[in-house]
């Protein structure tokens, strides 16, 4: 499997390590009301879609950036790869 790195181009998946669902970027506020409930959901509840899935990959044997990769779990087709930094900063900007 090749992952289209947004900076470096196509790179072999063996250079990367997989973390999990990209929703991990949305870490709840630990000081807010109902934080333990929010953290329970954050930690344990995941969608398990048969189809398009947004997930975090780490380019360990490359530039060591985190990517948000949109992958189809049925076909392994990768439709999008973004720097997780850009995704996180964009979300922060929206809030």
């Amino acid at each position: 499997m090749l992952i289209p790195h947004p900076i470096l181009g196509l790179r072999d998946a063996q250079e990367f390590t997989y973390l999990g669902d990209a929703s991990l970027l949305d870490r709840p506020d630990g000081m807010a009301e109902g934080a333990s409930e929010a953290f329970h959901d954050y930690l344990y509840l995941r969608d398990n879609p048969a189809g398009e899935h947004r997930e975090l990959w780490f380019h360990e044997q490359g530039d060591r950036s985190w990517l948000v990769v949109t992958r189809n779990t049925l076909t392994h087709e990768i439709t999008k790869a973004e720097l997780a930094r850009d995704v996180a900063l964009a979300r922060r900007g929206v809030k």
Binding site: I7, E15, Q61, G62, D63, R64, S65, L83
Partner: protein, 193 residues
């Protein structure tokens, strides 16, 4: 006061640089290269401009730029390694930190990484056995991180097929050199057969 008697040792625990030649290909350790890494702090991406001033020109994605006194290569977004002569710049990290101030984090890497020079007349068959770099497109002045013998490494191209600079974690020096030397012998044996 205690009198310390300390002597510098290479990554191989020796007094002089490790060097092996097999059939016209030479792998030489370079303990005379000082190393530091530079990472821009959040929102300080324009540090690339200061790095370009220090290193005699910009060093973009995947590039390796040799110069005097500093050579540099790109290791990640807003991150670089800087190489210099160890005798003249033993405190390279401190020097860079003074120039870059609090806009960048500078880390001394002299004891973190070990540098090897690999030279010879036909290195492509060796490197294609060692790593997954697309060597047909790997030109002079390019740098890539990759895995060699399960060891995370940097490969810097000085002259395609003829001269490369390899780097790995210092504690891996023996294993790394063993892997490279095994391939050197193997390629030489195949060429002779």
């Amino acid at each position: 006061m205690t009198e310390y008697r300390l002597f510098p040792r290479t990554a191989f625990g020796a007094e002089s640089a490790h060097s092996v030649s097999i059939a016209g290909v030479t792998l030489t350790e370079r303990p005379d290269v000082a190393l530091a890494s530079v990472a821009a702090r959040t929102g300080e991406a324009e540090i690339a401009g200061t790095m370009a001033e220090l290193c005699g020109g910009p060093c973009g994605v995947g590039q390796y730029k040799e110069g005097a006194p500093f050579s540099t290569f790109w290791s990640g977004p807003d991150q670089w390694f800087v190489l210099a002569d160890h005798a003249a710049h033993e405190t390279l990290a401190a020097e860079l930190q003074a120039r870059l101030g609090d806009r960048a984090s500078v880390t001394e890497q002299n004891d973190g990484w070990v540098v090897f020079d690999l030279t010879g007349n036909a290195l492509t068959p060796m490197l294609e056995r060692l790593c997954n770099i697309d060597l047909a497109r790997f030109e002079a002045g390019q740098a890539q991180r990759c895995v060699i013998e399960h060891i995370s490494s940097f490969v810097l191209c000085r002259d395609p097929g003829l001269s490369y600079r390899l780097m790995c974690g210092r504690s891996f020096a023996r294993s790394f050199a063993h892997a490279v030397e095994t391939i050197m012998a193997s390629v030489a044996a195949q060429a002779a057969a």
